[in-house]
């Protein structure tokens, strides 16, 4: 509880500092312009947030804990990272949908390397984003060059993450509801 409030306070302070900086350097009109843009963004993303959280909660009821351990667990080796990378690339939707899905994979037994590979594959090489945004705006040559350079990175990050001695379990995630109120 304390940690969540601390996060909220830090974020609020950063946003407030940015607002003050814009006000001092660019004037009040720029602040208003930014807030109007934010309001539009909220209206755009709110349906995805609601859908993503509902999807995550429903899937966690359906997928039994440990079901994906064989595919993406700590013992899954390079194949696990490849599976996670492919899953990340076909994952549709923005971050609000993808991050809750990380919770589902974690609960189903995916290890930290596979989770990192999934997040990176989705954010770097997400298929939907390339087709909808990158290809039309920047053209096929640039998009292909960027994709080729980005393709191996999720695997590398997954290997690094497995090698780093930092443990992470779904219980560390604020978005994860403890199954029952009794905590060990």
């Amino acid at each position: 509880m304390l940690r969540r409030n601390a996060t909220f306070l830090v974020i609020s302070a950063l946003t407030l500092a940015a607002a003050v900086a814009v006000w001092v350097l660019r004037g009040m009109g720029a602040v208003q312009h930014a807030l109007a843009a934010t309001w539009d963004l909220i209206l755009t993303v709110l349906p995805s947030i609601l859908g993503g959280l509902l999807l995550s909660a429903a899937l966690r009821q359906l997928v039994p804990p440990g079901a994906l351990a064989r595919w993406m667990g700590a013992e899954s080796g390079l194949r696990g990272l490849l599976v996670a990378t492919a899953a990340g690339m076909v994952m549709p939707g923005g971050p609000v949908a993808a991050f809750p899905v990380v919770l589902v994979l974690a609960q189903a037994g995916a290890d930290r390397g596979a989770l990192i590979a999934f997040v990176l594959a989705w954010s770097l090489n997400g298929f939907q984003r390339i087709v909808v945004w990158e290809l039309p705006i920047l053209g096929p040559d640039f998009a292909l060059l960027r994709l080729i350079c980005g393709l191996p990175l999720p695997i590398l990050a997954g290997l690094f993450a497995r090698w780093l001695p930092i443990r992470w379990t779904p219980a560390d995630a604020p978005g994860m509801q403890p199954r029952h109120e009794t905590k060990p």
Binding site: V31, Q61, G94, A97, L144, R146, L153
Partner: protein
């Protein structure tokens, strides 16, 4: 955008229907779970979202041409990776911005680094979405495992650039 949202909702409602078929108790638990997750996640998101728009107001005009040209080499790639990490907003902000930089004379390899930095480091997305849902420990692990990769992408783009003459857009 709307297409993605509709897709998410179709899949989410489909999953909820599967819960309902298993038993109404399971479906109810899913909805309650989603509601309480929203309650915990929303305050941080609402405070973090204005940050993107505010930072966009602070980017000075003309910095890309000066620092991220095709001859800026490794320094340009490193700078572009960091700049990408600070770049706020979704694809609807980032890709038009990169197009503008390319037309103004930024190097393609540097722009590959910039997009990779935006996708991997993305400070704003990390604070607005990853932190409320997955927590600080996950972010530390992910950033430690990946912070050098945008530079790697930029350097490999520099090597492969002769194969993609159309990437310069000029």
């Amino acid at each position: 955008m709307t297409f993605g949202v509709i897709g998410i909702w179709i899949v989410a409602l489909g999953a909820l229907a599967l819960c309902l078929r298993r038993s109404p108790v399971v479906a109810r638990r899913a909805v309650v779970d989603a509601g309480s997750a929203l309650w915990r996640v929303l305050p941080v998101m609402l405070m973090a979202l204005p940050m993107a728009a505010l930072i966009a107001e602070l980017i000075p005009a003309g910095w890309a041409e000066a620092w991220l040209g095709p001859d800026s080499g490794v320094v340009g790639v490193v700078l572009a990776s960091l700049a990408g990490g600070l770049l706020p907003g979704g694809p609807f902000v980032a890709f038009p911005l990169v197009l503008g930089f390319l037309k103004a004379g930024a190097g393609p390899a540097q722009m590959v680094a910039l997009i990779s930095g935006w996708a991997i480091l993305g400070l704003h997305r990390t604070l607005a979405w990853e932190l409320p849902i997955l927590g600080g420990r996950f972010i530390v692990l992910r950033l430690l495992a990946s912070f050098t990769l945008p530079v790697l992408a930029g350097l490999s783009a520099e090597l492969l650039l002769p194969l993609f003459p159309g990437a310069t857009l000029r």
